[in-house]
C-alpha cells in the first residue's frame, strides 16, 4: 500500500510501496503539484519501473514550467535502483536529513 501526503511547506511524503498497482494513484496525486516540489521518500520501502515512470512523467511536466522534483530521504536499496536506471542523473537527490 502507498500513502501520499502534502505538508504545509509543500513537501510531498510517500509512505509504503510504489509498485505497478499503486502507480495510477500516485500519478493522479502528483499531477496536482506545481513548481519545485520536495519529495520526502524516507518512508518509501519499494519502487519499481512503474513508480520510476510516475516520477519521470512528473519531472518532465514540472521542468517545462521551470519547476522540478527534489528527492530526499532515499533508502540505500532504492538509491541503487536510481543508479542502475540512470535516474540519479534526472533528479536532484538530497542526502537523507539527519534526525
Amino acid at each position: 500500500m502507498l500513502a501520499l501526503e502534502q505538508g504545509p511547506d509543500g513537501t510531498v511524503s510517500m509512505d509504503g510501496r510504489l509498485d505497478a498497482a499503486q502507480s495510477p494513484a500516485a500519478q493522479a496525486f502528483l499531477d496536482g503539484v506545481q513548481g519545485t516540489v520536495t519529495l520526502d521518500l524516507s518512508r518509501l520501502e519499494y519502487i519499481s519501473s512503474a513508480g520510476l515512470g510516475v516520477l519521470l512523467k512528473t519531472q518532465k511536466r514540472l521542468l517545462a514550467t521551470d519547476g522540478r522534483l527534489r528527492l530526499t530521504g532515499l533508502k540505500p536499496h532504492l538509491r541503487d535502483i536510481f543508479l542502475y536506471s540512470g535516474f540519479d542523473q534526472l533528479f536532484e537527490i538530497e542526502p537523507a536529513r539527519q534526525p
Binding site: Y46, S49, L52, G53, R68, D80, Q89
Partner: protein
C-alpha cells in the same frame, strides 16, 4: 410368626417420638453415624434393648450388617434367616419367641452371649421402592412387640430408609468428586511438562498438538532443542486415570533430564526404561518414541518402545514410509542391550509424523476407527503448508469423523518437516495479483530462511516480469507460476508463463541511461534493472506448450560486488 399391621392411628406421644427421630435423620451425617442414629431411634421408639440394620448390597444381593451394638460387620446372602426372608418378601416379620422359629439363626447369640427373646424385622424401602436394607429390633422391655409396635416401626422404617439412601448417595457423590479433583490434578501435572512453545529449528518446521480426553489419558510429547539436537518424544502410558497421567509425565521428565545431563540416545532410552521397570506397577508400561534430529546433517536417529506406526512422508516420491518400534514398551521389563537405532536422512520436504492411538483409534458412531489411510490422505493434501495448519486440519478431520462420539483417549501428534527448498504458487494474470505476490515473496523468504536483504531485488524482478506478462501475454488465460528456492548464499526465482509467444528477456536491448530527460521513457526500464540487479538471468521457451520460463539468481556475494562497483560511479547530481 407374622402379623398384619392393624389400621390404627399413632398416639400423639408416638408421633412426637417419630418426628424427633425424623428431624435427626435429616441431618447431614456420614453413613456410620446415620446407622447409629437409626438404631438408637428404633430402640427409643419401640422401647427395645438392641437393634441392628442390615444394608442391602444390590450387586452381591447380600445383606451387610454395618452396625449393630457390640457386633462386628457380617455378610449374609439374601433369603437366609429372618433378615434375609424379610429382604425377599419386603414384609414385616414379628417373632415373639425366636428360638421357636426355624428361620432364626442363633449363631450371633452364641458368639456374643446375648440371648434374643423376641424380634421385629422390617424392610427398609425408600420412596423409589428400592430396598435399602433390613432393620431388626430385639427384646422389647417387659414383653413382646405388639401390633402398635409394628405400626410405629413401619412409620419409622420409611423415614430411616430414605435417610440411609440419601447418605449412601451423598457418599458416592463425594467419592466421585474426590476422584474428579484428583484426575484434574493429574491432568495439570501432565500438561505442565509439555513444551510451552515450539522450538525454532533452522530449516525445519516442528509442531505438536495435545488434545486431552475428558477423562485423563496417558499421553505426552516433547520437542526441545538440546545439545544433542532436537529431542522428539511421543509417549502413551497404558490405561486411563491418575496413574498413567503421572507415569508418562515422569518418563518425559526423566528423558529430558537424561539428555540434559549429556546422555546419548541409547543410554537415555535404556536408563529411563530400567527406572520405569522398577517403579511402574507390573501391569503398566509406556509406549514411547524417542528421537534426536541433527538439523545440520539432517539425520534423525530414534528408538521406539512399542510406539507406532512411525510414518515418514517422502517429498520426492509422495509416498509414506512406515517404521516399526525398535523395542518393547518402556517399563515393561529391564533392558541391558538395544538393537541399533533407526537412522533416517531427512530430505527437503520430508515429514516425520507421530500420532498417538487416540487419533488412529478414534471411532465414529458406527464404531469404525479413523485409521491411518485417512491420516495419510490429510498429509497428502496439506504437506506443502505450515505444519501447524496440517495438525489443525488433522484435528478438524478427526472431530468431523467422530461427530457425536466421545473422545475416548488423549490425542497427541508430533510432526517434524524439513522445509522444502522450493515454495511455489500460481497467480491470476492481472494487476490485482500484485499485493498477493508481495505477500507470497515475504512469506516464502521467511519460511525458506532467505536473507531479507535480497527481498527487494526479488520483489522488483517478480513485479517487473509479472507486469510484462500481464501486459504482453494477453492471449493467455493461464495463471502465472512463481517459485522461490533457497540456494547457497541466495535465492533463485522461477516464473513460468503458459500459452504465450516467445520473448527472450535476456536479449532485449539495454536502456540508454545517458540521454537527456526529454528522450527518456519508462519503456524497457524494468528488464534493464533486473539484468543489473541479478547475478544471472536465464530464459527458456517451449514451443509445444508455448511456455516461457524465466529463472534468475541473486546472491549476497553478487549484491556486495555490484554495490562495491557502484561506489566508484557515485551519483546524486541532477543533469537536466
Amino acid at each position: 410368626m407374622s402379623t398384619r399391621v392393624p389400621r390404627r392411628h399413632l398416639s400423639a406421644h408416638d408421633m412426637e417420638a417419630i418426628l424427633g427421630v425424623t428431624s435427626k435423620l435429616a441431618a447431614p451425617f456420614d453413613l456410620t453415624t446415620m446407622l447409629a442414629e437409626v438404631v438408637a431411634a428404633a430402640k427409643q421408639v419401640l422401647d427395645a434393648e438392641r437393634g441392628s440394620v442390615w444394608l442391602h448390597d444390590a450387586v452381591a444381593d447380600e445383606l451387610v450388617l454395618e452396625v449393630a451394638t457390640g457386633i462386628a460387620p457380617v455378610r449374609m446372602p439374601c433369603g437366609t434367616g429372618l433378615a434375609g426372608a424379610c429382604a425377599r418378601t419386603r414384609q414385616i416379620i414379628n417373632v415373639p419367641d425366636c428360638y421357636a422359629d426355624p428361620r432364626f439363626d442363633a449363631r450371633v447369640d452364641k458368639a456374643t452371649g446375648y440371648r434374643t427373646r423376641c424380634m421385629l424385622t422390617l424392610p427398609l424401602v425408600d420412596h423409589k421402592n428400592v430396598l435399602v436394607g433390613v432393620m431388626q429390633v430385639l427384646n422389647k422391655h417387659g414383653g413382646v412387640f405388639d401390633a402398635d409396635d409394628e405400626l410405629l416401626a413401619t412409620a419409622l422404617a420409611a423415614q430411616c430408609a430414605v435417610a440411609l439412601q440419601r447418605v449412601r448417595m451423598t457418599g458416592a457423590l463425594i467419592e466421585g468428586e474426590k476422584m474428579r479433583q484428583a484426575l484434574e490434578m493429574a491432568r495439570v501435572v501432565q500438561m505442565s511438562t509439555l513444551p510451552a512453545r515450539m522450538p525454532i529449528v533452522p530449516g525445519y518446521d516442528a509442531c505438536a498438538l495435545f488434545q486431552p480426553a475428558e477423562l485423563t489419558g496417558g499421553d505426552t510429547y516433547d520437542l526441545s532443542l538440546l545439545d544433542q539436537g532436537l529431542l522428539i518424544v511421543l509417549g502413551d502410558a497404558t490405561g486411563h486415570g491418575i496413574a498413567p497421567a503421572l507415569s508418562v509425565t515422569q518418563m518425559q521428565a526423566m528423558l529430558r533430564m537424561a539428555f540434559m545431563l549429556g546422555a546419548d540416545l541409547e543410554t537415555a532410552f535404556i536408563q529411563v526404561n530400567n527406572r520405569l521397570a522398577e517403579t511402574l506397577a507390573d501391569d503398566r508400561f509406556i509406549t514411547a518414541f524417542v528421537g534426536l534430529l541433527d538439523s545440520a546433517t539432517h539425520r534423525l536417529r530414534f528408538h521406539s518402545g512399542g510406539q507406532g506406526p512411525i510414518l515418514r512422508y517422502r517429498a520426492a516420491t509422495g509416498a509414506f514410509e512406515r517404521h516399526k518400534p525398535t523395542s518393547f514398551p518402556l517399563g515393561a521389563m529391564p533392558l541391558s542391550t538395544l538393537r541399533p537405532a533407526i537412522a533416517l536422512d531427512m530430505h527437503p520436504g520430508d515429514i516425520l509424523i507421530l500420532l498417538s492411538d487416540g487419533f488412529y483409534e478414534q471411532c465414529d458412531l458406527n464404531g469404525e476407527p479413523f485409521g491411518d489411510a485417512r491420516v495419510q490422505e490429510i498429509v497428502h493434501a496439506h504437506y506443502s503448508g505450515p505444519m501447524a495448519e496440517l495438525l489443525a486440519q488433522l484435528l478438524r478431520s478427526v472431530e468431523a469423523f467422530a461427530v457425536g462420539a466421545a473422545q475416548e483417549d488423549d490425542m497427541t501428534a508430533v510432526v517434524v518437516k524439513r522445509e522444502s527448498a522450493v515454495i511455489g504458487q500460481s497467480f491470476e494474470r492481472g494487476f490485482d495479483s500484485i499485493p498477493d505476490l508481495v505477500e507470497f515473496t515475504a512469506n516464502a523468504f521467511a519460511r525458506l530462511r532467505i536473507d531479507g536483504q535480497l527481498l527487494p531485488v526479488i520483489d522488483l524482478a517478480v513485479e517487473e516480469l509479472f507486469t510484462n506478462m500481464v501486459k504482453y501475454g494477453t492471449g493467455s488465460n493461464a495463471a502465472v507460476q512463481v517459485g522461490l528456492m533457497a540456494i547457497d548464499d541466495g535465492v533463485e526465482l522461477t516464473m513460468v508463463d503458459r500459452g504465450v509467444e516467445a520473448f527472450d528477456i535476456t536479449q532485449s536491448p539495454d536502456v540508454d541511461i545517458d540521454v537527456p530527460i526529454e528522450q527518456r521513457t519508462p519503456g524497457g526500464l524494468g528488464l534493464h534493472l533486473i539484468r543489473r540487479m541479478a547475478d544471472c538471468v536465464e530464459y527458456e521457451y517451449k514451443k509445444e506448450s508455448r511456455q516461457s520460463r524465466i529463472a534468475l539468481r541473486v546472491t549476497r556475494a553478487g549484491m556486495a560486488a555490484r554495490s562495491a562497483a557502484m561506489q566508484g560511479t557515485g551519483g546524486g547530481n541532477a543533469r537536466t
